[in-house]
Symmetry: C2
Subunit: 412 residues, 2 copies
Amino acid sequence: MPVLVMKFGGTSVANLDRIRRAAKRVGVEVAKGYDVIVIVSAMSGKTNELVGWVGETSPLYDAREYDAVVSSGEIVTAGLMALTLQEMDVPARSWQGWQVPLKTNSAHSQARIEEIPTDNINAKFGEGMKVAVVAGFQGISPEGRVTTLGRGGSDTTAVAFAAAFDAERCDIYTDVDGVYTTDPRICDKARKLDKIAFEEMLELASLGAKVLQTRSVELAMRYKVKLRVLSSFEEQSDEAGTLVCDEEEIMESNVVNGVAYSRDEAKLTCLSVADRPGIAATIFTCLSEAGVNVDMIVQNISEEGRTDMTFSCPTDQVKRAEAALSSHKEKGDLNYGELVADTGVAKVSVVGIGMRSQSGVAAKMFRVLSDEGINIKVITTSEIKISVLIDRKYMELAVQALHDAFDLDKAS
Amino acid sequence: MPVLVMKFGGTSVANLDRIRRAAKRVGVEVAKGYDVIVIVSAMSGKTNELVGWVGETSPLYDAREYDAVVSSGEIVTAGLMALTLQEMDVPARSWQGWQVPLKTNSAHSQARIEEIPTDNINAKFGEGMKVAVVAGFQGISPEGRVTTLGRGGSDTTAVAFAAAFDAERCDIYTDVDGVYTTDPRICDKARKLDKIAFEEMLELASLGAKVLQTRSVELAMRYKVKLRVLSSFEEQSDEAGTLVCDEEEIMESNVVNGVAYSRDEAKLTCLSVADRPGIAATIFTCLSEAGVNVDMIVQNISEEGRTDMTFSCPTDQVKRAEAALSSHKEKGDLNYGELVADTGVAKVSVVGIGMRSQSGVAAKMFRVLSDEGINIKVITTSEIKISVLIDRKYMELAVQALHDAFDLDKAS
């Protein structure tokens, strides 16, 4: 039997009615002859509640306990989905991460998938089970403890299963009907894309477009998983949503295909760092060991042997970053004057594979922002994107102005 | 190190503040030099919410999925308790049922504990861990699926751990300060007992006194586990609460030591059953296979080769009982006229080890109920208890009248 992977996000399983609705979609695919692997998230709000409890209990929590607590939401949805399918006479059972087992490394709260053995689930398919409902976002470490894959890890779970089971397609059901040129909630001219290249999706995902988790797109690109994003709230045809695919499958494209933003950014600066070889390595090794996801990095021009080192990270990791740096400062590994945190910034980016062959995009972006009176704090670029850090209060304005300037409301 | 088991029920871990309070109690025992195994329930209300979702999704649910869903509440509390202890600098970690592993049989939703290997947890105690926080109520089947031990199964988990680890004592922290002669909420003369015999506690527990689960008392009796029930809401001395112990440790006792009740009882009658050998076996095998907990059984006098068979079970199992019996009737294994269910009944019982040597307790009980105009529907007796099924509306009245009549407000 061909295998299909279907992933339902938190809003698609927010209550029993929505679980039933999702189960009906699964039933449609089973009727077409697929063996289906369903990956579920926690009911919307649940994971945030659990994360909140952990944070309140222990600000610098033990990530192993965080994982044990936070992974419980998906277990509930998986069981309820299996029961709902059984009620519809579709043979189904639930699987928790450790039961598959979805094997990860020991990097708790941000674990990486190492292996998904297919024998247990395939044996059940062989016995007539039509749907394996798998609790997303979680796995088991070599030490036998529960791990989680980081926020949005259910997308990654879905793509990894699609790769492991050589699935025909991986459908990601969510509360939006596809991938947009930007967030329609802050720009009413946002337009749905029928197709988007893996590379572009990757930049959009990592820049904060919350449709798909970055790692899931990376994984899909590496294993050539046909990935589709579509709404669980609409009747769906086989061409609905947005297909995330190889660049070659897209005929013509705008220079810029999307404007992304990320609200939860913080900018930290280590003032007066000794400007000598190895200092950057020391700082960022220490941050990495503390589990801080550093994004942008800027080093200012050196004066009298001292320099300022600026970087950005998610706002909720600022405390962790500060603790890590000051503990190394106390130990004497690291010497800097002061650590300044600015938690009032946002990141805005333009993305497009067309940038590879078209120049002038950066200049145009900076001019647009300047015309709106928006000051740029940090800039980074890649082959197909340009990102800037700006004051958070200008974020919406910047997104709208860039969307207009690059004609994103018009199909190419 | 001597081992102590401490179990905290749902109200004792209802929110983060209460978890902190419970953790402080654990800290006190750790400071005395104990290695502590903490067994936690789900936050109060959580299990009911999960059970409700399962029932709404699938009235005749697959018990394996029920277990997967319903066991998640304890996982959350275990992780939060471990984090709270770590914040207090007490080395602790959480254990889910399958991680211990607490091995059970495959009787999902009412599984029985088969083995608790001590090596994993003892190894961690050896490495300096002071507290193992174990998610109560759950285990793992030989097939590798999550099982639950039935409602209140966290008490059973606690006693089983106390037996397996040869604990010095098993303290059950709950929202009451001990075992009472009856429920203080419906009888304001109820009196706290300092000690109660295992046998009495067993009858009280199985009769619906919700302080301890029946199986936990059975287990404590079998393995001579010193069991103490006490409040998590008061400062505790070493003599607080009620000690559940061997009969020999109690000097003098009233004839009757407790009045228990159970509100959620239903009475079912199979009318006009063929009165031939094997018919009772057929009926109750069929109910047992359907997982119905039959309590009282009465067979009426036979007329013309037909008889009526009456039994009681929890109200939430009535549908299951009806489905099981009617399916066997359809298959022709079972022949009866009609199945009549009365879900408006309650059970009231008097219990006391003194009954063994004192006669006249039954007569007195029936006279007291008769004086109040309460009709008795079914009677059962054991060596140390007498139970009656009555209309639910008379339940409180019956309890109060019996408590008065047997002078339970006065210590012996």
